[in-house]
């Protein structure tokens, strides 16, 4: 993974000094509330319903064990002993004290971490594939380019006061595990006709109040042009994005208003002045970034005998076998497997992880996965490089710590924002709905029979819980002061991305498990043998679901 040199360290250290002074001036009354707002936001600090809330950046979801232990310490010392994995692969603290935030930032800087630009109207943490570097369907490892984008976007002086927040994701594989279609900019590593790998660049995707799928701005550019092309897009947005209405300020609204053709033309025109300028990436800069993401010291393992041994273990212990099937994926190196640690145990808020669990994950990473771990945008964690012969021992330790719920990719692997329990923007709570659904569908055989299914919950239309791209999406809405939930079906976060369609009038919280039950039974009744939920939905449309859910009781 990327390791700071003196330059990187100086940058985060100077940031701590700067923010310490800004906090002091705010507390002394020298900075107004209004002036302090963007400054604290760009250091990850929100002020929320109950307390300040702080987002800590995990660049493209990659962490080492020392960083995990530091996070555990921070949650214990400055917070209530747990953290929350967000859909931008960051960690969120729910109870820090404003006065202590500079100290938290200093602790983070000591392990090469920060909270820079995790909030505010600026370029946010770049996200990527949690299986980057190990996935079998990878065209090229996206992480070196994520790191190049991280550095470029950190304190970019031109783009720190954009019309609105700005999110970039990078995908380097055949399957899109980074939801690039719902980002302000999506970058995809693709070969051109000659087989040379470069970037396809999309813009104008986003969720929130006006969800949109991104448009292709260029089908292919050479790698060296990555940053100048991004700058051209950002400049067009900074100059022309709407600033009169917060709800119409994202780049997606600009792309739609201008039309993709005109937007592309404006970008290409701006690009002419930037192209081949100082931000052009020389080959050695790309090589230098790549040098941080080389293979760890994999052993040469006879894949087929490791597989056979594993199959025997799975047969002896079906509970292990089940976990193996659901929570691990194949690895490009024979004898290895990538493991997802489920943060979706019923009773825990989706994505929450305790200080003890963080420390255990650090230990397990050291023991089994070259000292590294990852966060996922589905709010789980990953150990990406585990020997197959270690999987059984790892599973036992995970099980004891409540991290082995075998539900990855299934109904109860719910994505949910913190919702009305914590967030002052929320119209409704998310967490009790997630828990009620997890409790209702606790029969693993039933959820496996349903097949892979994504259920996403947002407590308001800002859509932090990605409800638009959930195959089943749930949105909290406020109706005359009461919390209601709107359901949508058919969202899809992958390369053939689509947005969910609203089922009909919204429901009370208590009715939600029953509503989900009816949707699922409709699917079970109508599916053909091989059909997933999404397949059936695409074939039969929304009507049969609607009829079942809204049918009057006889």
């Amino acid at each position: 993974m990327y390791v700071y040199d003196d330059y990187d360290q100086r940058i985060v250290d100077q940031r701590v000094t700067q923010f310490r002074d800004q906090t002091r001036r705010y507390l002394d009354g020298q900075l107004t509330e209004e002036q302090f707002l963007p400054l604290r936001l760009q250091n990850g600090l929100y002020v929320q319903r109950l307390a300040p809330m702080m987002r800590i950046a995990v660049p493209y979801g990659l962490l080492n064990s020392a960083q995990l232990r530091k996070l555990a310490h921070i949650t214990r010392h400055y917070d209530k002993g747990y953290a929350h994995v967000t859909t931008r692969q960051n960690f969120q603290l729910n109870w820090p004290q404003l006065e202590e935030v500079p100290d938290i930032l200093e602790e983070l800087a000591n392990v090469q971490m920060h909270a820079i630009q995790t909030s505010g109207n600026c370029i946010r943490n770049t996200t990527s594939d949690e299986f980057a570097g190990v996935a079998r369907d990878e065209i090229e490892d996206p992480r070196p380019y994520c790191e190049i984008i991280r550095q470029w976007s950190t304190f970019h002086p031109e783009f720190a006061f954009l019309p609105r927040k700005f999110k970039i994701a990078v995908c380097g594989s055949l399957e899109d595990r980074a939801t690039i279609h719902s980002h302000d900019i999506g970058v995809e590593l693709v070969p051109n006709e000659e087989g040379v790998i470069g970037f396809k660049v999309l813009a104008g995707g986003g969720l929130g109040r006006t969800p949109m799928i991104a448009s292709v701005i260029t089908e292919w550019i050479e790698k060296r042009h990555l940053l100048t092309y991004l700058e051209a897009i950002l400049r067009v947005y900074n100059l022309h994005g709407r600033r009169d209405n917060k709800f119409k300020a994202r780049i997606k609204i600009l792309v739609k208003a201008m039309g993709v053709e005109a937007f592309r033309e404006a970008v290409e025109k701006e690009w002419l002045t930037l192209k081949d300028g100082p931000s052009t990436l020389p080959e050695d800069a790309i090589e230098q970034a790549k040098s941080f993401f080389t293979d760890p010291a994999y052993e040469t393992i006879d894949g087929s005998s490791a597989e056979a041994a594993l199959a025997a273990q799975a047969e002896r212990d079906p509970i292990f076998g089940n976990w193996l099937k659901r929570n691990t994926v194949e690895h490009r190196i024979p004898g290895y497997q990538a493991v997802t640690l489920s943060l979706k145990r019923t009773g825990d808020a989706p994505g929450d992880v305790s200080d003890r669990q963080l420390e255990l994950i650090a230990d397990l990473a050291d023991k089994y996965s070259f000292g590294q771990a990852r966060t996922t945008h589905q709010q789980n964690m990953v150990l990406a490089d585990v020997r197959q012969q270690d999987l059984y021992a790892l599973w036992q330790e995970l099980q004891a710590a409540g991290l082995a719920t075998a539900n990855i990719g299934y109904l109860t692997d719910i994505i949910a924002c913190p919702g009305g329990d914590y967030c002052s923007l929320a119209n409704a709570k998310s967490l009790p709905v997630a828990e009620a659904i997890q409790a209702r569908f606790d029969d693993l055989d039933y959820i496996y029979d349903l097949g892979p299914l994504e259920l996403n919950i947002s407590g308001c239309m800002n859509a932090c819980g990605h409800h638009h791209i959930g195959q089943i999406g749930i949105l909290g809405v406020d109706k005359k002061g009461e919390e209601f939930y709107q359901v949508s079906l058919g969202g899809n976060q992958y390369k053939d991305a689509s947005l969910g369609k609203i089922l009909g009038p919204s429901f009370k919280q208590d009715d939600m498990p029953e509503v989900i039950e009816k949707i699922l039974s409709t699917y079970v009744d109508l599916r053909t043998e091989e059909e997933s939920f999404l397949d059936t939905y695409k074939r039969v449309g929304i009507t049969p679901f609607k009829e079942r859910v809204y049918a009057k009781a006889d």
Partner: protein
């Protein structure tokens, strides 16, 4: 007469007065609005103030003649002025580029990086303390007007 930060010092601006948008003719020593400036027959030695939303491209053919370009920040969170500055410098503007309006001292470092070299803060009592903010960071990742080589070109 307004006080400015220029070259990391506080100076009095004896040369230029704030724009008078309603004046029919622009007096000597007054900064023009963009519309007034466009109407000037002779742009040599002129001074113009850009507002958010103004078309910066209309200045480009005359950059060698203009003596001062002021960029107004009516609210400090409107970041269009940062792009105006960079575009003007990228296109070869060498004269004074002055930030005016409601920007705050915590933005000085970014402002100087995109090419501003004069800063007229609304609250003049803040000037002395604000000078320090110019030096908030001693190293930067990306290319900018003040440091044209990005870190990746200096590292490798």
């Amino acid at each position: 007469m307004p006080k400015l930060i220029k070259g990391a010092e506080i100076v009095n601006d004896e040369r230029w007065k704030a724009p008078q948008p309603d004046a029919e003719t622009v007096s000597e020593g007054v900064i023009c609005t963009l519309a007034q400036w466009q109407a000037l027959d002779d742009k040599a030695g002129s001074a113009v103030q850009l507002e958010p939303g103004d078309d910066v491209h209309s200045l480009l053919p005359h950059l060698q003649e203009i003596e001062l370009i002021a960029v107004n920040f009516p609210v400090f969170t409107d970041g269009r002025g940062f792009s105006y500055a960079r575009e003007l410098r990228e296109n070869g503007y060498q004269g004074e580029l002055r930030a005016v309006g409601a920007f705050i001292r915590d933005q000085l470092h970014y402002l100087s990086r995109v090419g501003f070299d004069a800063f007229q803060l609304e609250d003049e009592s803040q000037l002395e303390a604000a000078i320090k903010s110019l030096e908030d960071f001693s190293v930067h990742y990306q290319a900018s007007i003040s440091h044209p080589l990005p870190l990746f070109r200096r590292r490798s």
